[in-house]
Symmetry: C2
Subunit: 318 residues, 2 copies
Amino acid sequence: MNSALDILRGCAVAIVGAGLVGRGWAVVFARAGFPVRLYDANPEVLQAAPALILTQLEGLERYQLLDEPSSVVASRITPHHSLAGVVDGAAYVQESILERVELKRELLERLEALDDGNRIIGSSTSGIPASQFSSGLTIAPRVIIVHPVNPPSLVPLVELVPSPSTSPQTLAFAKNLMQAVGQTAITVNKEVEGFVLNRLQAVLLREAWALVEDGIASPEDVDKTVRDGLGWRWSFMGPFETIDLNAVGGVSDYARRLGPLYQRIAASRTHDAPWGGTLVEEVEAHMRGQLPLDQLAQRCQWRDLQLMAFAKHRKENS
Amino acid sequence: MNSALDILRGCAVAIVGAGLVGRGWAVVFARAGFPVRLYDANPEVLQAAPALILTQLEGLERYQLLDEPSSVVASRITPHHSLAGVVDGAAYVQESILERVELKRELLERLEALDDGNRIIGSSTSGIPASQFSSGLTIAPRVIIVHPVNPPSLVPLVELVPSPSTSPQTLAFAKNLMQAVGQTAITVNKEVEGFVLNRLQAVLLREAWALVEDGIASPEDVDKTVRDGLGWRWSFMGPFETIDLNAVGGVSDYARRLGPLYQRIAASRTHDAPWGGTLVEEVEAHMRGQLPLDQLAQRCQWRDLQLMAFAKHRKENS
């Protein structure tokens, strides 16, 4: 715990934006022992946050995913009613506001005015390159994307995406910070659209749509293929390690033997069809046949419980 | 158990080919209560099979994945020293020989000569369309691909791929049989290369290679993104269900909001690069830095234990 605090030189983490993502971050930092300061421009969102955070912590506690009582973790989080107040004494700011570039730019300009010359700012954006809201600011070298998966308290992956202005020290700080809070940080070296996680998801989804469109498989069978097949290995190994272990001579042996097949498969999907029209309607109808829209929220609770159970399983098996 | 046996009208399952895949099938069928007859053209392979199968069963037993003692399950499996002997009294044959079309064709011709007019033949092939080895045979309507994931005793997904000659009755039989043994069967409606699972894997791997080639992420970070991020949801939900639960209005709402982003990502990968050259060498070198080649087999054991632990987790959480 001390080494984690050392990273912040005894200072706090400030979270700006107390919506779903910001609350998730509050849990991650508080769970790791950091003092957390929480702010939202909307007082109602800020007021509602502590109870919602406590509920999240109690869920983690039930699944034995906390090392301390939930009340102790919750007590590290303090709401603040102004931006100046929340960043005062904070060595790191996790920006988690709405995904609109002009709002992020405006926030960074205000943070620049409140700058202490050291503070590092991580942005939770899933899709806006940091250069679009940090360029030209004096704090730009200390701004980096720190993009979590939702909810970060359960899924460890975090994508670090430096802008061309981000300093190596800022990247190193973010890596250390993520390690200290138990997240798995990867570095996305260029500001590509979708970063890494969503690019990988995008190409799989694109093939999923095409398989349905071509009448090769139903949406349900595509889902089963991942849920009861592909996803098993990918729950504890990445795609490279998976194929590395599937050939006696490792990944290059695998590439030699199966590369031509995979290339033919990739080559057979050359058009980039839009996500729309009757295909989306067809899949929507199929999904609603499985799950009516008014049960979606309930199913999301099921998903979150499954994620908790999986997190517990991974904790016990790694 | 009786209903499972009813499917076979009291007959046995014959497995032709006692290699890794055939042995995995023997475990699946015997575990479900079926009498299993096992044959391999190579007497040494056949002789070695029972001990290897018992080891596999004992592993499942340790992880509480068997409902009966491993010795009871093993006792249902009997080796046979001729093709005529193994199929005699078998209502279903699971072909699990080498992946060479001329060998499969030859086997099917011999099975045709031994045909009883009812027997159904499932092929374990991962890549050869059934029409290539069954066309023109009188048994062709009773031949279907029943492609498992390795090991089938742990990973439930099975791809059923009828050829144009396969009868609807054969497809229905295979679906019922897979349900009876506790596997998850999907239907691949056309004989496409890679079926469904490997097509989905192919496109993700293709993007993985490209991310490394473009210097966007290291192979290790690509692996982490799946292992500690994407793979968590995909371990219990498919890709469609994942996005269906990620938008308040379901999958069509998601497509409307994020479709354009995903389409741009897909459109940015239009070339179908071969799997080769310095890129493969680079990834190979990277993987060997993590895991020397002489430790690959040991890591495969780790993988199998992880799969067992995951199977136990899934059994307890579904």
